[in-house]
Structures are given as C-alpha cells and as structure tokens.
Symmetry: none
DNA sequence: GCCGCTATATATAACGG
DNA sequence: TCCGTTATATATAGCGG
C-alpha cells in the first residue's frame, strides 16, 4: 500500500520562484520566519532591529524592535550628532576595531584565495595546453603568441598573471559599480515603498512591532527608505 | 559506549543571554543567519528588503537588496542638496561617497590580490626552468612582449578566444564575489559605528548588499590602491 | 491567503583545536 | 578569537482543507 504522507520539505534552489502562487506562499512563510528570527535575535541579544520588506505586490511589511519609529529616530539622531567631517575622530579604540576588522577580512580573504587559486590553476592549465599546441606548430600559422593565455609558462610569469588577475578584479569592481547604478535606478522606480507613516501596527509576544502598509506612492517614499538604510554611509559626509 | 562527541544543539529559551561571550557568539551567528534568510527571501521572491541592526556594542549592521549606497547616491544627486548648501557642493560630496565606495571595494580586492601574489610567486618559480629554455625564441631581439597588454592591437584577432577567456574570468569573478560576500556577511561584525563617513560594501550571490564602515586609514590606503589598480585597461580585453 | 501536517533541509548551541 | 564538527532544534516545501 503506497503511502504518500508527504514528500516532506524539498530542497529548492535559491533562485526566483517561477510559479506565482508558490512564490506568494513562500514569501509569506519566509517573511514570518525572518521576522521571528529577528525577534529572537532582539530578545536573545538585547539589540535593536528594524526590517523593511516590500512584497511582490508592493506592500510594505516591517518589523521593529522596540518599534520601527524608534529605530528610525535613532538613526536620525546619530546622523544629526555628527556634523563635521570626523576626519580626526579615530582614536585608539577605533584603531582597535580596525585591527579586528582587518584580521577578520583577511580570514575571509584567505578562503577567497583558495577559490581564486583553484580557478587560477584551471586557467594556467589551459594556457599550458595552448602553449603546447602553439609550439608544435599546430596553431602557429605565423601568428606569434599574442595573448597571455597562449604564452608558455615562461612568459606567464607571476607579474603577467598578476596583472591579468588585476584586470579581472578591476572588471569585477566595475561590474559591481555598474550594476549598482542599474539596480539603483530600478529600485527607485519600482520598489522603495514608504517607510514613514506606517499605518497598521501589531506586536508579537516579545513586544516587537510589526507593521504593514498597503501600496503607496513608491517613488516619493523611496527617499525615506533609502535614507534610513543608507544613513550610515552618508554619515560624516553630508 | 559513553557518547560524548557533542551534545549537539541545545534548546535555549528566548530570553536575554546572560553570558556575554555567549551572547556575542550568538549575535554573530544569528545575525548572519538573519541576513542569509533575508537574502534568500529576496532572491526567491524577488522582493526588496532592508535590515538595520544595532549590535550590543552599538555598531550598525545593515543589509540591503539590491543596493543601498548607490541608491542613496543617485537619489541624493537628483533630489538636490542637503544641509551643506549648494548643489555643486553636494555633488562633490556625492562623488566623494562614490569614490569611497569604489575605494573600499578595491581595497578589499587588493587584499585578495596580495594573497594571490604570494601563490603566484610560488607558481612562477616552479615554471622558471621552462621559462629559460624558451625565452630566447620569443620575439627575437629586444624585449619580447613582457606583458600581454603590450601586444599590438592588430594582432588581437582571436576574439573567440578572448571571449572564452572573458567568460572564464567572469566565472572567476563570480567565485570571488560569491565567496567574499558570503563570508563578509559573517564578518560584518562591529566596526566603526557612526564615526566614520565611508562605507564598505560587498555583495553575496544574490546581489544583496552588506555594509559596514571602515576606518579612515583603510580608506586612505584604498585611495592609493585605486591609483595602482587604475592600470591600463585599453587592452581591449576588459 | 491562512492553518495543519509530515518529512527534510537548515540553522545553530556546545565543544574542541 | 576564529574555525570546524556534531547532534539537535527549527524552519519550511509540498499537499490538503
């Protein structure tokens, strides 16, 4: 007797869910889960958290502990507190933090390095293969080695590869910046709903605040969200 | 026999964790988890999410999808000046912010580069023997093309290969970005709360942004790196 | 869209190095 | 302090109502 109680939780790829009804269900469930996690984090560690979520239907869901407005005020307050450039503000404490940060980054980068090295090995192997072909005259045809990947190992010295990698990284950077701009435009056009003036308020068992606001004028309110979320970045600059 | 490899995950009450070190650990882990969940939700449902977290040490952590700082930059640029007066001044500030952003990214990339350099040194030495054997036959007199970007443009006709290479690098980039941001998520601990005015940005596999504030020294260093990295790109490859 | 259910996928508390 | 492991607590995908 075939029993089909349930397939149980199935693994899904982290990519946009195609089926809209599935997406909606997942959105609801995961949004709840996210807020719950945030709530627990707030309680467990006694920290303040604010979350804004713009649903597929352009509705705004928010979570705040103790409340969204407080989080907001706190940002605005710190923002106003710093009016100068703050260029000379880093003291010994700052340096300490910097060191902590630095070491942390290096740790991460070590792992990144592993990945990069692997890829590098692949690339190099390919280069060696091409090299062999070229030397034996297969691809010679009067065209000398013009590209680094065609170069035999002897030409592919550290410097060249390094430069090659540098270019790759440079490209990466440009990609990031470029995409940022594009996404920025998209965002300002479609999402960024209102953050201020939330209408519906509820609280969970921990006193956290959950707000939801039906679609509003996105573009206008985008400003508020952007400022909230971005405030730390402009701190001391404007 | 007596089993004691690990007690495994223990159930904990959702109440403020008394032990400070435990709290710190939990904060880091759960913050990472929270951001990851948010990231997944963004990708799965194609929604916008912003999260602000004030750490126990009053540091600010933020998560944003898709962009945060670029959105701000663009928004402020089109919106107009803030409190610093004229629009030109504002634009200057905006440019500063943007540059800072780029610098920060590059700074991180440079760290990667530095590490990779070491690896390359090893690889290079390993291939030096072959290098010597073939060098004399390359390019005849003068100095053979030391660097791949020195190749005459006219010889850059292997566009297909170029494209293939580009793809390869693209893949490499993805690895770098993916890994770095994934780790960055966890690394965004502490740091330069509302003191410094520059931000640090990374992205995870889903294009979400994680920000934190770096030390000014870092930024200065990054500035130098920008120059260093602003190397000849007119090779037609990137 | 909101439950409830089940079987799994994930997240993570304790520990050890 | 950070990282990796392990055993377990939680979160959730798919399905029904």
């Amino acid at each position: 007797m075939a029993k089909k109680p349930s397939l149980g939780r199935q693994k899904i790829a982290i990519a946009k869910i195609p089926k809209k009804n599935h997406l909606q269900v997942t959105f609801s469930k995961r949004r709840s889960g996210l807020f719950k996690k945030a709530s627990e984090l707030c309680t467990l560690c006694g920290v303040e958290i604010g979350i804004l979520v713009f649903s597929p239907a352009n509705k705004v869901f928010s979570f705040g502990h103790p409340e969204v407005d407080s989080i907001l005020d706190r940002f605005l307050a710190s923002k106003g507190a710093r009016s100068d450039g703050g260029g000379s503000t880093h003291n010994s404490g700052t340096r300490q933090l910097f060191e902590a940060h630095r070491s942390a980054s290096i740790q991460e980068l070590n792992m990144i390095l592993t990945q990069v090295t692997e890829q590098l090995e692949v690339d190099k192997r390919r280069g060696e293969g091409l090299d062999k072909a070229t030397r034996s005259g297969v691809g010679g045809g009067g065209h000398p080695r013009q590209f680094w990947w065609e170069s035999p190992v002897e030409e592919m010295n550290g410097m060249e590869e390094l430069e090659q990698l540098r270019s790759s990284l440079e490209e990466l950077k440009m990609h990031i910046v470029g995409q940022s701009t594009r996404l920025m435009m998209d965002a300002s056009r479609s999402f960024m709903a209102p953050f201020l003036g939330l209408e519906y308020t509820a609280r969970n068992d921990h006193g956290d605040q959950f707000d939801r606001k039906p679609d509003l004028d996105q573009v206008n309110n985008a400003a508020a969200l952007v400022q909230y979320l971005s405030f730390p970045q402009e701190n001391g600059l404007f």
